[in-house]
Symmetry: C2
Subunit: 230 residues, 2 copies
DNA sequence: ACCCCTTATTGTAAATTTTACAATAAGCTG
DNA sequence: CAGCTTATTGTAAAATTTACAATAAGGGGT
């Protein structure tokens, strides 16, 4: 058995697709490469998985080194292992999918090969390095699918947010207009939103109420198999 | 860069979760191990990925070597890469998910380490080798989720099948009873079923009509974003 | 031929959910 | 306080989902 296993070993890595939402736009956290190949191209942040490191831990480490954040919503997206996907040899990469609040952190690009890290508008991107455009495309479809069936929008918004912000997030990600009254009725009917008691400040129009996501209620409803379809 | 990449190489493999449906039961194609570790345990069929082999191709090869089938519905499920998952060292496995028609083939267990391959009833399984019970559990949840949103049940049934067979499949996999009249109304409303013109034979009761899945119509509806929720 | 047993096939009314749609309220600015 | 901007709210019609049972058809046994 050991013989069979010893004939081919491969390098493997993780790449992170990190979504954010800011000023009504879907954002994605990318690095700018400072080395060949794909010098100056934008790329997904990623790294080699350590010998004694779990896959999930490697993805968490990449995100932490980039943002300083811990305990962030992350899940596996897909593994990309085509023979020719990397110009320098066979590299398998496990892509991860993450949602974070843009405003919560500074960017510390400790990622190797990176000149810098920055938030880019998802809907206006050049071709990325390697096969990262393909990975990103897959991640976006997953984001759309998840948003339709689970209340994950809250991961992308500040702790307190208005219903209009939330609706805008749905409209931008799902790429369709939503009726304001029907959206509010539906989203409030789940009972996942708690009024914070506060209102918007420094806006030159009627101030909107600020809501919080009620994580406790979400967990108890999820346990009994509740469905949150939008 | 080459330096960084050269410090840790890992073995990687594919494992296949192959579902079938027969005699009103959900089946799963497993091998019985003929070697340590986990001698005599049941395990998912799998193999090492070749140096010049795409991931998807490796999964297809495992399934082909086992069943002789080609062009089978397969998709990636998840990658399992915990440090301690394999007693003989760090092995990352990409799990695949597949649905096949049980009656279509013989079993040729060319899988290494296997004494034999056989169809087992999903709902009555012992603990599997390695972390394969965990992989299977994840695959089953995916099967349930997919069945609810996509008409994949046809992959598991013979080319011609009755509505009762189809309903039974839904009931067994989703683990809930479904109203007969409502089920028929809904499933027929999608227009994905074509009457074959034939009826059951050799049954000691009223013979049911045999339907076929209309793949062409499915593809054209899917293109326009149609939803097939049950 | 007929009765019995088993499964196949079909419709409808009530309840629920989704959809379409616009007037009023509130806060800031000048 | 007039004007501008965004926030908030309800209702009727349409569509979908749900609950529910009687009749049809085929084979087996007499």
């Amino acid at each position: 058995m050991q013989d069979l296993y010893s004939d081919f070993h491969s390098i493997f890595s993780v790449d992170c697709v990190i979504f954010g939402f800011d000023k009504g736009e879907l954002k994605i956290l990318l690095i700018e490469r400072g080395e060949e190949p794909y010098m100056d191209y934008l790329a997904l942040p990623g790294n080699i998985v350590g010998e004694d490191e779990d896959l999930d831990a490697a993805a968490g480490r990449v995100l932490n080194e980039l943002t300083g954040l811990n305990n962030i919503y992350m899940e596996q997206l897909h593994t990309f292992g085509e023979v020719g996907r990397h110009p320098q040899g066979r590299i398998i990469t496990v892509a991860y999918f993450s949602l974070i609040k843009v405003k919560r952190h500074e960017l510390y690009p400790k990622i190797p090969f990176a000149k810098k890290a920055e938030w880019r508008t998802f809907h206006d991107l050049p071709k990325l390095a390697f096969d990262h455009s393909i990975i990103l495309e897959k991640a976006y479809r997953k984001l759309q699918r998840k948003l339709r069936y689970e209340p994950i929008g809250f991961e992308l918004l500040p702790d307190k947010f208005t219903l209009t912000q939330l609706q805008q997030l749905y409209e931008v990600i799902l790429e369709k207009e939503i009726d304001k009254r029907n959206f509010r009725k539906k989203i409030l009917s789940y009972g996942l939103l708690t009024e914070s008691g506060e209102k918007q400040k420094n806006v030159s129009h009627r101030a909107a109420r600020l809501y919080r996501f009620n994580k406790r209620r979400y967990n108890s409803l999820r346990k009994i198999g509740f469905n949150f379809e939008i």
